[in-house]
């Protein structure tokens, strides 16, 4: 009895139990036969669809296209965000300007800009990247700037004391010192852009067809291949969990947790 109790105290075991229960409920609803396979496919056909689309390279192609878009947007977003933040550190005027535009644009969902993006950049990668950059830079700027402002005065003075100046002071003291904030910025930027990406690709599926996971879902729905729709949703969830709970968690463990620099959460 004691061993069973101990096993159930492990988080991972409990999670597996919960997920199995959900799958069981799903399968039992399907097996009543009351719902068409077109609306609610069985677990087996979703699994087959997933395996087929992986084997044919279709899933890989669309997933990597999504990553290709998000990668480009991240590159542009990071450069822009750091440039703007650096300028804001130089002049209080630019800082105020930047705070104002961040306040205006940060709450605006990327997808809301899609019609404008279509008008400005036409149907294509450029429009999606525009939206992704929008969903990346504001949280990144906001957090990096807050991080830079919270750099300990003592540590800055130690840096100057041992002979660091200008850019080397920024890269050797300010960036690592603000790293917990910068990392938070990246996490928000990632989750914003990943969500915007799928939505944007779906709308492009309606108007052109470029590829990507969102487009895959849209296309499969069009042909009523519902099992493939669920397979693509499954991949989106897995990618999300992987990036947030494996990649970011690992970076956190190797950096801020190891350094004892975890930001104290407000109670």
């Amino acid at each position: 009895m004691k061993i069973i109790k101990q096993i159930f105290q492990m988080k991972i075991i409990r999670q597996i139990v919960f997920i199995s229960a959900l799958l069981l409920i799903w399968q039992s609803v399907v097996s009543t036969g009351n719902y068409s396979e077109l609306l609610l496919p069985s677990l087996r056909s979703i699994w087959t669809a997933l395996m087929n689309s992986v084997a044919s390279g279709e899933m890989g192609k669309h997933t990597s296209y999504s990553f290709y878009l998000i990668g480009q947007a991240l590159g542009i977003g990071v450069v822009l965000a750091f440039l703007l933040t650096a300028l804001a550190m130089v002049s209080p005027w630019i800082a105020d300007f930047m705070k104002t535009i961040t306040t205006i644009f940060h709450p605006l969902p990327g997808v809301a800009l899609l019609p404008i993006a279509l008008l400005w950049f036409g149907i294509g990668e450029k429009s999606i990247i525009f939206i992704l950059v929008h969903s990346i830079i504001w949280p990144l700027i906001l957090n990096t700037y807050t991080g830079f402002q919270s750099v300990s005065r003592t540590q800055l003075e130690v840096g100057r004391n041992i002979g660091l100046r200008g850019l080397s002071l920024v890269s050797s003291v300010m960036v690592p010192s603000a790293f917990p904030y910068i990392l938070t910025g990246f996490k928000i930027a990632w989750s914003n852009s990943w969500r915007s990406l799928v939505a944007a690709e779906m709308i492009f599926g309606a108007s052109g067809g470029q590829g990507g996971l969102g487009w895959l879902i849209y296309q499969k729905r069009f042909f009523l291949e519902t099992a493939y729709v669920f397979a693509a949703l499954f991949v989106i969830i897995i990618v999300g969990i992987f990036i947030e709970n494996v990649v970011f968690a690992q970076i956190e463990r190797l950096t801020v947790q190891r350094w004892g620099m975890v930001i104290q959460k407000e109670k």
Partner: protein, 265 residues
Amino acid sequence: MANKVSVENLFVKFEGEHGDVQALDDVSFSMKEGEFLTILGPSGCGKSTLIRAIAGFQSPERGEIILGDKKVTEPGPDRIMVFQEFDQLFPWRTVIGNITYALKVSGVKKEKREERAMHYLEMVNLKDFARAFPHQLSGGMKQRAAIARSLALNPEILLMDEPFGSLDAQTRSILQSELVRIWQKVGSTIIFITHNIQEAILMGDRVMVMSTAPGKIKDIIDVSIDRPRLPETPKFMKLWHQLYNLLETKQFGENGSGNVLPGKD
């Protein structure tokens, strides 16, 4: 022997909302090589401003600071500051990493950094914690590490701004005697700020007493007591009372509660 440091007619003014504050008003003194000077004064007497001006963090309104034969204009590794704050170590580097990094910035060759860092960590009894990160250390250990880092840089002068001010009484007294032991071994020139009379007498060759608003030097007193100094001796007590009377006790009351007669705390 020529003076190691000389401060000549130093004035520092802060502009505030309620008018300007004269933090330092015509401060002049000099130090010999290898001397241990303690600066004693109530909070707000400008003692921190003075040490920050010597470090190059605070530019004076008038007057100059000469180190060796050079005029001080900006911060530099020839004057290393040890702060009161426990966060003066970079938390993203290990204890030894903090030292080797500082050595790297000041141009010490790669092969020599590790060995030199270890040497000074051993001196402050922190060898076993070389690979630890700062957040794993106690307050006293962090201050030891900061002292090791500053010694490793081999500065012309060590500037210590109440480095033991945030420590508990026991750790503080251990670190006081260790710092004296290290100073006797290494022979560094040290300016040490404190508002604790006993600490000032225990450590300094001379004690400089400052007064508040405007910050001025009230007196500089030679401590002619043989080391190691014991607070219970008559000479020590006599000097303690002399310094106590020099300090403006009415202003000192605020944070001077730590100043009880030696042997009674």
